[in-house]
Symmetry: C2
Subunit: 140 residues, 2 copies
């Protein structure tokens, strides 16, 4: 079986508000959008932002809540890029959770919540390579 | 800025129980593990399963809850693979949320929750290509 995740789907309550965070904050361009879902082509998979009500219907699972016990990370290529991106995301509708600082395991990171309370880590991790297509490889 | 997600980190309460779901259910092999985190090298990014208490400390955000308003999807290459994988994941500690059936937009999918209540969609989507490295490309 492929060690593969095809899609990350985040439930959102206001698609325009969410789009501002991802398009203006991260500067990401949708590959598809309609009135209930936006898709972004990512590094080897797809990110979807979908109305939570529609996601619940599709899952046949009601009562999804936030903040969920998960985090997504976007890695940048230098320590100096972490805080400016956290600030940009906060000004695009996010909420700063943790200002950038150095964890004991090395590197530099901070956290911001998106407008639907989904947690994002912005990190500089010098050990993990990122190729020109954005593909990230684990390393110790 | 790269349109890139580096890591998906899922909060877990029992690492051995979670490992059984991902290693026995999905047949995925960890690239790193210690007593609080397991990493899996995925298709262009890294999946981490981390004790929720440690994730909360790192985020400086307490009270993470489940089920969160998100879903991860693993796509398979034929409709016939969907239900057997859902069944295998359920027998590895997951809970079936929705048996496989055909959504109006085409394809075939079902949902299962992992032992920590994180939602997984298992889907056959004939429109989206998956290359030999598991890299998934959006298409209409």
């Amino acid at each position: 079986m492929q060690q593969q995740i095809s899609v990350i789907t985040l439930g959102v309550s206001d698609l325009a508000r969410s789009r501002r965070f991802y398009s203006d904050g991260f500067s990401w361009t949708p590959v598809f959008e309609n009135e209930e879902i936006i898709f972004y082509q990512m590094n080897g998979f797809v990110l979807g932002t979908w109305l939570t009500s529609a996601l619940e219907r599709d899952m046949q699972r009601n009562g999804l809540v936030g903040p969920g016990a998960f985090a997504l990370a976007h890695n940048v290529s230098s320590q100096e890029q972490v805080q400016p991106l956290l600030d940009k995301l906060a000004s695009a509708g996010g909420e700063l959770l943790r200002a950038g600082d150095a964890p004991v395991h090395g590197g530099f990171r901070g956290y911001v919540a998106d407008p639907d309370d989904h947690s994002w880590e912005i990190a500089w991790n010098p050990a993990w390579s990122i190729d020109e297509n954005g593909h990230v490889t684990f390393a110790m």
